[in-house]
């Protein structure tokens, strides 16, 4: 059974169809990439999948349960986490606090327990601390736990955004241009990290990206969007050789990326 079922998702902004009839059936532990030119509606899809925009038409079902009409924080609590195209960390907080801020929905601490600092509450805080440290360790950020997020190097900020999203304990992770602005070596690290997310944590991932060197080797399936419409879908090889995709996005001079890398 598919974990996420998106059917005929469409949204209009004052007559402009930003996304038209987008359908996607995600299997567990799949990595799907959405590519396409700027303005094709990729981030708009993410915004619908996280409850920021309400679609004009269509359905979103997570494990058979419809998510339409829920608020963004409820989408997050149900298990869809995301990162942002332009990094949006809680910049003035420490690295570890950034991560802990994404775990508040799973904590049962009440307001009065917080005031009184009951033993139960203190214990829970310790548990959250341990979780956060554990996760930071996994992604090599534990040595920077007490640094302010805004003082991290760019690549580490991108990684921290993913770690923060993982703290939500999501089922599905949406990565919006995870390697934007990164250099080639960082690209490889990120590709390794994304694979680990799937292999070790069992996550299902949808990613938006313009770096074809990054997308082609790791994506199980690729969807190509242009002007809100899906113009192609398939494996990296199929998409790269599709004349419509070359015309709309990849360009005539495009050389195939070796997908067996």
């Amino acid at each position: 059974m598919s974990i996420l079922e998106i059917k005929n998702l469409s949204i209009e902004f004052g007559g402009l169809k930003a996304v038209d009839d987008f359908s996607l059936s995600l299997e567990e532990r799949e990595i799907i990439a959405i590519i396409g030119p700027n303005g094709a509606g990729k981030t708009t899809i993410f915004n619908m999948l996280t409850g920021i925009y309400a679609p004009t038409k269509g359905s979103i079902e997570l494990n058979g349960e419809s998510l339409l009409g829920l608020k963004p924080f409820q989408f997050a609590q149900k298990g869809i986490a995301r990162t942002f195209q332009n990094i949006r960390l809680f910049a003035a907080s420490t690295v570890i606090d950034n991560v802990k801020m994404a775990y508040t929905h799973k904590s049962s601490e009440s307001f009065f327990e917080s005031i009184l600092r009951t033993p139960k509450m203190v214990q829970e805080e310790r548990m959250i601390d341990e979780r956060a440290i554990h996760l930071l360790k996994k992604f090599d950020l534990d040595s920077k736990a007490d640094i302010l997020a805004k003082n991290l190097p760019y690549g580490a900020q991108r990684r921290l955004e993913i770690v923060r999203a993982l703290m939500l304990e999501p089922k599905i992770l949406l990565l919006d241009e995870p390697v934007a602005g990164m250099i080639t070596t960082e690209l490889d690290d990120m590709a390794k990290m994304v694979r680990e997310l799937r292999d070790k944590l069992g996550l299902t991932i949808i990613l938006i990206e313009h770096h074809m060197n990054f997308v082609m080797p790791i994506a199980d399936r690729i969807k190509v969007l242009n002007f809100g419409e899906t113009i192609a879908e398939g494996s990296a090889d199929e998409v790269q050789n599709n004349p419509d995709v070359i015309a709309a996005y990849l360009g005539g001079g495009y050389k195939n990326v070796n997908t067996n890398a």
Binding site: F90, D97, A102, T104, S107
Partner: protein, 303 residues
């Protein structure tokens, strides 16, 4: 020297009133991004409701004094009640305007302030006339090395420091604190991290209004007269305290409150008219030399 110490005691006492009130201004500004001009009136609601509560409990009073337990109960009920009024004010007046231009919320806040002052004034059982506030705390006085200090002053200063300590801990070391800080930095990202920002904003107003109520009870315990307009002037001065400390920063509000209280008492001791002016003098100096306030950091908005 002992005169100076004596003024310092008065200054701390008045400062704790300003500090508790300034915290509410700064928290609401930090999280919602608006200045709640009705915040001073929460102080009035706290003081007035304490007056009526103590009347309701008057049968428990022995020779006009209440037992510690009853006083604690009265203060607790007044704080929670005022907190809930704060939550409803936000839900009714400010929430519908959250995504509108900032100016709308600001003007609404002025309107809410007028309403909170004049609605009780129009109610027959409250009315405009000032009332004398009951003695809640024992009025014993001690003399320590020439400095007179009363139990009321000790209780006030200690309790307000306790409240501030708890608040600081809650904001920095608990779940709701993390949610508040996340909302103050980036509301959209916060909701995508599973945080219900409506709930966080409600709790912020609850905490701010409850602390304002405590501040009102303390103020009325030193200057034992309460009326529906008492929040206006005190609110203005506490707002100045919050700006001096750096609006948006809780430590700044506490510091600003005590600076305001102590300088006001010192200035009054020189000339009684100077007391009112000194706060504004400090405000102007701060705005000239450190526009973001003592604790605040100047942020430059990207254009």
């Amino acid at each position: 020297m002992s005169t100076l110490m004596q003024f310092l005691v008065y200054g701390l006492q008045l400062g704790s009133v300003y500090a508790l009130l300034a915290i509410g201004y700064t928290m609401v500004y930090g999280i919602v991004g608006m200045i709640n001009f009705a915040h001073g009136d929460f102080l009035m609601i706290g003081a007035l409701s304490t007056f009526f509560l103590s009347q309701a409990f008057s049968s428990f009073a022995v020779n006009g004094t209440y037992s510690g337990l009853i006083v604690a109960l009265i203060i607790f009920v007044a704080m929670v009640g005022t907190g809930l009024i704060g939550v409803s004010v936000e839900a009714i007046a400010y929430k519908p305007l959250r995504n509108r231009p900032k100016m709308s919320a600001l003007i609404t806040a002025v309107g809410v302030s007028m309403f909170l002052e004049n609605f009780p004034r129009a109610l027959p059982f409250i009315g405009p006339s000032p009332r004398s506030f009951p003695m809640l705390f024992p009025a014993k006085r001690f003399q320590i090395q020439g400095v007179m200090i009363s139990t009321t002053q000790i209780i006030m200063i200690v309790l307000s420091l306790v409240f501030m300590f708890i608040l600081y801990n809650v904001v920095n070391r608990t779940k709701i604190g993390r949610q508040m800080r996340a909302c103050s930095m980036d509301k959209d990202a916060a909701q995508l991290m599973g945080i219900n920002i409506n709930r966080v904003i409600s709790i912020t107003f609850f905490v701010g209004a409850a602390l304002a109520a405590a501040s009102g009870i303390f103020y009325a315990s030193i200057y034992p007269q309460v009326d529906v307009y008492m929040g206006g002037w005190l609110g203005t001065k506490s707002f100045i305290a919050a700006v001096i400390g750096g609006i948006g920063d809780i430590r700044g509000a506490m510091l600003g409150g005590f600076i305001m209280g102590i300088t006001e008492i010192l200035a009054t001791s020189v000339n009684s008219n100077l007391g009112y002016a000194i706060g504004f003098v400090i405000l102007i100096l701060i705005l000239l030399f450190k526009p973001a306030g003592i604790m605040g950091k100047l942020t430059i908005d990207k254009v």
